[in-house]
C-alpha cells in the first residue's frame, strides 16, 4: 500500500496527505481523520468507497511511521480494524464463515462517518441560530420578582407543655452511668487486706477491714464490702486466711492461717 501511495501521481493529494500528517494533532481522533480523508473522494458520503478510504488511512499511518510521527493508540486501533476490513472486502468469504460481511462492516463505517458529518453540520446550524445575549436580549434591568418569604411557625399548646415537661423531668431520667467515685475496686481491697492479714491472729468480722470513708454511706459501704469479700476469698484460696460463718447471713469472720497455708484444706 505504501508503494501505491508513493506512486500516485496526484501531487496535490500527496501534499494534502503530508499536511494531514503534520496536522495530526489537529484531528479529533481517527474518525475525524477518516472524515477528512473521505472528502478527497469528492462524493456523497453514502457513495463513498470504503475500500479506498481504508487504503488512504492505512497509507497515512504508514507515512506517519516512516516519518517517525507517533500516532495515538486509537489511530493504530483504527488502522488494525481497517486492515481487517480491507481483507474482508477483498478476499472471498471462507465457506461457512460466521459474522458480518465486509460490505456490512463497510456500510457501518460509512454510516458512522455520515452521522458524524451530520452532527457537525447540526452543531454549526445550532451555533448559527440567534443566541440570547448576542442576537436577542433579556430585559436589561430585571426586577427580581421579590419574594417576601414569610415563615409561619407552628407550635401547639401540646408542644409547649411537652417541652416544659421534658425540661422539668430531665433529672429523673438521667441516663445510667457508672459512678466511679463510689466504687471500691477489688484490686485495692485485695492489696489492703493482704497487708492487714498478718496481724489478724484472731477471728475478726470482715466489716472491720473496710477502709476509712467507706463505711456508713450505704452505696459506698456495699461496694467496699463486696470488694473486700472477694479479696478475702482470693486470700483464702491462696491459703493465707481462714473464713468462718456461723450461719447463713451471719457476719463473716476471718483470721490469718496459723500454719501460713502450708497444708491443704
Amino acid at each position: 500500500m505504501p508503494d501505491d501511495w508513493d506512486n500516485r501521481d496526484d501531487i496535490t493529494a500527496r501534499r494534502a496527505a503530508e499536511a494531514l500528517i503534520v496536522d495530526v494533532e489537529g484531528f479529533e481522533g481517527p474518525l475525524d481523520l477518516l472524515l477528512m480523508l473521505s472528502r478527497s473522494q469528492k462524493v456523497d458520503l453514502r457513495r463513498i468507497s470504503v475500500l479506498e478510504l481504508a487504503e488512504q488511512y492505512l497509507g497515512f499511518v504508514e507515512k506517519a511511521r516512516a516519518l517517525r510521527i507517533e500516532l495515538a493508540a486509537d489511530y493504530l486501533v483504527m488502522a488494525a480494524w481497517l486492515a481487517y476490513l480491507k481483507s474482508r472486502l477483498l478476499l472471498p468469504p471462507e465457506p461457512g464463515e460466521e459474522g458480518p460481511t465486509g460490505e456490512e462492516l463497510a456500510a457501518h463505517l460509512a454510516w458512522q462517518l455520515e452521522r458524524l458529518q451530520a452532527m457537525r453540520e447540526a452543531a454549526a446550524r445550532l451555533m448559527g441560530r440567534d443566541q440570547k445575549g448576542r442576537d436577542f436580549f433579556v430585559r436589561g434591568q430585571p426586577t427580581a420578582l421579590a419574594v417576601a418569604r414569610k415563615v409561619h411557625f407552628e407550635a401547639s399548646l401540646l408542644d409547649l407543655m411537652r417541652a416544659y415537661a421534658r425540661l422539668r423531668t430531665r433529672d429523673e431520667f438521667r441516663p445510667y452511668a457508672f459512678d466511679r467515685s463510689d466504687i471500691y475496686p477489688y484490686e485495692a481491697a485485695l492489696e489492703r487486706l493482704a497487708t492487714l492479714v498478718p496481724g489478724a491472729s484472731d477471728w475478726t468480722a470482715l466489716q472491720a477491714y473496710l477502709p476509712e470513708g467507706w463505711r456508713g454511706v450505704a452505696k459506698r459501704q456495699r461496694s467496699a464490702i463486696a470488694s473486700t469479700f472477694a479479696a478475702s476469698l482470693e486470700l483464702a484460696k491462696q491459703g493465707a486466711v481462714e473464713l468462718r460463718q456461723s450461719d447463713s447471713f451471719a457476719p463473716l469472720h476471718l483470721r490469718r492461717r496459723a500454719d501460713g497455708g502450708a497444708e491443704g484444706r
Binding site: D135, M161, A163
Partner: protein, 228 residues
C-alpha cells in the same frame, strides 16, 4: 449572523450625516417610523440604565426621529402593564406602578419551631417574668440570641420589667398574642407538672433519637451579645 454585518454598516457611515439631517437625505434614509419605534422599544427593554434621547439616537440608524418614536411608544404603552417612564432626562420601560404588588409574592412557609425555641418559650410561659440566666439554668444550656429574637419576632414574648437584682437583668413575659395563639386565657392556665403527668404528657420521655439538641449546639458564646 445578521449582527456583524448590521452593526458594521451602522458604525461607519451614518454618524456624521446624523448630525446634519439635511445632508444627503436620500442616501441613508431612516427606517420607517414603525421600525424606529420597534428599535427604541428593544433598546429600552434591553438596556440596564435609562437612556437619554441622545443615547438612544446614538444607537439608531441616523436620520431617526427619537422624539417621535418615543412619543409613539409612549402612547402604545399607555395603560399597559409596562409603561415608558421618564427618569430625569432619560427614558426607561417599567412595570406599571399599580401592578407592583404582582411582583411581590408572599410565600408562607409553615415550619416547626425548633426545640430550643419551644423550650425557651415554655420556660417563659411557666416562669414569667424570667431572666435569660434563669432560662439557661432551667434548660441547662445557653439560650442563643436567635432563639429569643425569633420569639420576639413572632410576638409571642416581650420584655418585662427589669429584675431589681444586681445587673438589673431584663425579664421576659409572654404576650397577648401568645395567649391568643395557644388558646389560653392567661399563662396561669397552663397545666402544672402534676397535671401534665396525669395527662400522660410525661410518658413520652425517652426522646426519639435525633430530636434533641438541634440548635443548642449553636448557642456557644453569643450569650454575651445579648446582655443589654
Amino acid at each position: 449572523m445578521t449582527e456583524s454585518s448590521g452593526q458594521g454598516t451602522r458604525a461607519q457611515q451614518p454618524r456624521d450625516a446624523a448630525g446634519d439631517p439635511g445632508a444627503e437625505p436620500g442616501l441613508f434614509a431612516a427606517p420607517p417610523m414603525a421600525e424606529q419605534e420597534r428599535m427604541v422599544e428593544a433598546i429600552l427593554f434591553a438596556c440596564a440604565e435609562p437612556l437619554s434621547a441622545a443615547q438612544i439616537a446614538e444607537r439608531l440608524p441616523q436620520g431617526c426621529d427619537v422624539a417621535e418614536a418615543l412619543a409613539h411608544l409612549r402612547s402604545r404603552y399607555a395603560g399597559r402593564g409596562v409603561t415608558v417612564v421618564r427618569v430625569r432626562d432619560a427614558w426607561a420601560l417599567r412595570t406599571a406602578p399599580d401592578l407592583g404588588w404582582l411582583m411581590q409574592s408572599e410565600r408562607v412557609e409553615t415550619r416547626k419551631l425548633s426545640r430550643a425555641a419551644i423550650e425557651t418559650l415554655a420556660i417563659i410561659a411557666y416562669h414569667q417574668p424570667v431572666t435569660r440566666a434563669e432560662i439557661e439554668e432551667i434548660r441547662g444550656v445557653a439560650v442563643s440570641r436567635g432563639t429569643i429574637d425569633q420569639l420576639l419576632e413572632l410576638d409571642w414574648i416581650r420584655l418585662g420589667r427589669r429584675r431589681m437584682t444586681p445587673g438589673r437583668p431584663v425579664t421576659f413575659v409572654v404576650t397577648e398574642e401568645f395567649l391568643d395563639h395557644f388558646g389560653l386565657e392567661s399563662a396561669r392556665d397552663l397545666p402544672g407538672l402534676k397535671e401534665l403527668r396525669e395527662a400522660g404528657l410525661l410518658e413520652s420521655r425517652p426522646l426519639p433519637g435525633g430530636l434533641g439538641d438541634e440548635d443548642e449546639g449553636i448557642s456557644e458564646g453569643q450569650g454575651a451579645l445579648f446582655e443589654d
